[in-house]
Point group: C2
Chain length 502, copies 2
């Protein structure tokens, strides 16, 4: 292959999008007919990537016989300064026609989903292709058989954790309820009970914090498979970021486009959850599903439909699944945002007087349900067992041991910028809009800024006076605080304050 | 506003995607919480754009108090070196939730489409949002009322040409048939007949050449509204690129994402065609629809459905529409690609002996049908009139006059790289795969490379011997020639050569 150029780092961070910069007089551009936005295959030794081309004008910072790479492209190729790479047209991705078929409303089979997942992991599909795939699967556009096929394709395309023939417990919350950070508490209780609970969590997709984001405030969560195994063999449990383990790794690519689009898809949600559980080696899985008018799952009917899909796909994959429907009318705990939620988690584990009672009760319910789901459990005794493990301090000790095993515990900090938002009139707090309150937390910087978010100062059913603080906005920069505040002030009825006898 | 930075040109061509490059230590990034891929609003005097942020490492080519812009962003802002621009978070686009609703399968109303079109033109929507919109409208996912609403929204968001109360004739071909370049011939004939035919054409979306691409080989096609009016008032007709006129300008944004996705959508196709015709002031429109198993419209049933949608939407918009169903089993003419098709057009207008008879007959049929559609026409006489205008040289003279008025005629050139592909065995040529032959022409560089494409050396129903040339590949670079050839050689049955008596 004669079309080679010397690689140089561009120092340009394009996040995950691989970009290559080539000189407008570059002989490779000329001989291959490359122009801006062409997708280019770059081969270096045994690695290759597909990157999007940006063209650099003569007289700018690039030499004519060099190609500069974005930070993510440089890392993906494992390039060293001075390496010469080969440039060519990529093969057209086989799965583009599969995505097209789905967009037109055709059903896809196992091979179709496998092709999409494989091309996704090879970066053969552009972000536009991925956005089209996500859109074509939005809402209820994947049926049950397609969901099973997508789940299998995603599971099989990555690493799998093997725990022998031991029972492996796991839980997952279908999100949408700000502050509902039960996982660290549940894992601590269930591991303290002697079960195996190797929990892998995701970062936020459209919420102000994912469990991995919150846990990362308190301990490292980016562990490789060997490190995870050491933590779990020593402590029985862990709470780590699943994305670092290549469990169902295509999911992170889908999330990269789902996040800005802010789409839901029943099929992709089920495939995302269950492919990760299956790849992590789980045998018994509890799914928490908060239901409320502004939660992700808005009605009993929607919960039933999603639960039925989760159950049928679990069965097809050989997983034991239980569903836990919970109240989703308002945020849980006081904090919304990674560090603010971590503070709530620690208050519960430490049995502090100011610990949010709702978070504690939810965590105990879930831990109890999961203990009941375990093989050989005496049904109905889990809840009491969970409470005694929390009250005795065994769960706190287990949590601290897990944090230590993951690399060391750290106390959450506080954001630099804060402002209180007050009640416009007196009343009893009867509802909170989960979606808009989450949006404000995101505008304030969560989850990118760990300490940004919201601290609720009034809780559901509280009686508040006019001018009494409802919540506190936390941000790291004045710009973000102002942006979140401007949105918050433009909204009415975030908090429903009803008149009447308190 | 205090968050300002000095603008510098980056010299980076990102095609149409506006990108801003900021230093990793930049105070604006810090105070606003900007990170790679954040969408950033940039205000300069009375102009503003929304650009995607890339972050430049310290020590690279950008100063800490500067922001560099991609070529398209620089042009859109009208920036001058030394200008200071203000940076802020953009308002969340109102239409993102409308796109989401459509992805979930909800119907959109006039206000919804108007919001999408408006945010598209303001660059408030990212390419991912646009890809989601295009996907959500793919196939038959827009119903009739939605198609009317989208058409109106697109028409109303741009310029409109006003021709007073004169009848304005227009034609459009629903593409998919390589080489079917009748428009320049039809316009020349109809204008020679004394009618007003201000034709605006598009560039290729998924084909190897659009009419504007082909016409641009022979004359300038990027004219503003005043220049177009001068040409049409002088000569009765023109063939210009519609994208330069801001007629239904949102269409070009949609095309930018449709092109790489290669999606079809009945609703978007109808809205694209009719919004442009309505904005161009057309009153009488003839739609040519080639039907064949590998054409864009594959069956009589599909033609009927598309034709019905075109007719009903035309009626809602007050346009007189006629449909012309033609044979779409094989490419038309010999050339596929801008310059190669231009050569066919000129051969017909010049009545050269080697002029492709099929292109000539199709152009005469269409011109005749359009003459019959005109007000006060005596039905059935159009075809004879068209032929006499072509045979007399009146159409050629009119075409040359139009080219001169548009800025000057130029003869098409030939590509540097050529190779002949030969018949693997003897037989009679009974079918040609339009889609794959178009794909080969695109891999060879068409339409980006004007002179790239295919020249057919055997035509439908020809008897060929083993080893006889079937077609010639044309490319500007060895890389593109090789790429197209590799794909061509991997395909079987591009040309169906049937055994039997010739």
């Amino acid at each position: 292959m004669t079309d080679t150029l010397a690689l140089v780092p561009s120092g340009i961070d394009t996040y995950r999008q691989p970009v290559v910069y080539m000189h407008e007089d570059c002989h490779v551009c000329r001989s291959e007919g490359f122009a801006a936005q062409t997708r280019v295959r770059i081969d270096l030794k045994d690695r290759w990537i597909i990157a999007t081309l940006n063209v650099i004008a003569r007289g700018a910072w690039l030499a004519v016989d060099e190609a500069a790479l974005s930070s993510s492209a440089w890392a993906a190729l494992g390039a060293q300064a001075g390496d010469r790479a080969a440039f060519s047209h990529p093969e057209p991705p086989a799965s583009a026609s599969v995505i097209r078929a789905k967009a037109y409303g055709n059903r896809l089979d196992q091979a179709g989903f496998a092709a999409i997942v494989s091309d996704t992991l090879d970066n053969r599909l552009s972000d536009l292709d991925l956005a089209a795939f996500v859109t074509a699967c939005a809402g209820d556009r994947l049926d049950e058989a397609e969901t099973v096929a997508l789940t299998r394709a995603m599971r099989d395309a990555g690493q799998m954790l093997d725990w022998g023939d031991r029972a492996v417990l796991d839980k997952h919350c279908v999100g949408g309820l700000p502050g509902n950070r039960t996982t660290p508490i549940v894992v601590a209780i269930v591991a303290a009970a002697g079960h195996l609970v190797p929990k892998t969590s995701s970062r936020a997709i459209t919420s102000p914090a994912g469990t991995a984001d919150t846990m990362e405030v308190m301990a490292p969560v980016v562990l490789d498979g060997d490190a995870l195994r050491r933590v779990v063999e020593a402590e029985g449990g862990c709470i780590v970021w699943g994305g670092g383990l290549a469990l169902s790794p295509a999911d992170d690519h889908f999330i990269r486009v789902e996040r800005p689009l802010d789409f839901d898809s029943t099929g992709q949600l089920v495939a995302s959850v269950l492919s990760k559980k299956a790849a992590a080696g789980a045998t018994h899985v509890l799914i928490d599903m908060p239901v409320g008018p502004t939660a992700k799952v808005r009605s009993a009917g929607a919960a039933e439909a999603l639960g039925a899909r989760l159950s049928s796909v679990s069965e097809a994959l050989g997983l034991n699944l239980a569903l836990h429907i919970s109240d989703g009318v308002a945020p849980v705990g006081r904090g919304i945002g990674p560090a603010l939620e971590a503070l709530d988690v620690l208050a519960v584990l430490r049995r502090m007087p100011e610990a949010p009672g709702d978070l504690r009760e939810r965590a105990l319910d879930l831990a109890g349900h999961l203990l009941d789901l375990a093989p050989n459990a005496v049904r109905g005794q889990g809840r009491d067992r969970a409470q005694s493990l929390l009250d005795s301090g065994a769960a706190e000790a287990k949590f601290m041991a897990i944090c230590a095993a993951q690399g060391g515990f750290r106390e959450p900090g506080s954001a630099a910028q804060r402002i209180e938002i007050r009640a416009p009139h007196a009343g009893q707090l009867s509802a909170v809009d989960n979606r808009r309150i989450a949006r404000i937390a995101k505008l304030a910087g969560a989850p990118r800024q760990q300490r940004a978010g919201i601290r609720l100062l009034a809780r559901i059913r509280d009686r508040v006076d006019k001018g009494q603080p409802l919540y506190e906005l936390h941000a790291e920069t004045p710009g973000e605080l102002g942006y979140a505040l401007a949105y918050a002030e433009s909204q009415t009825d975030l908090f429903t304050l009803s008149e009447g006898v308190s």
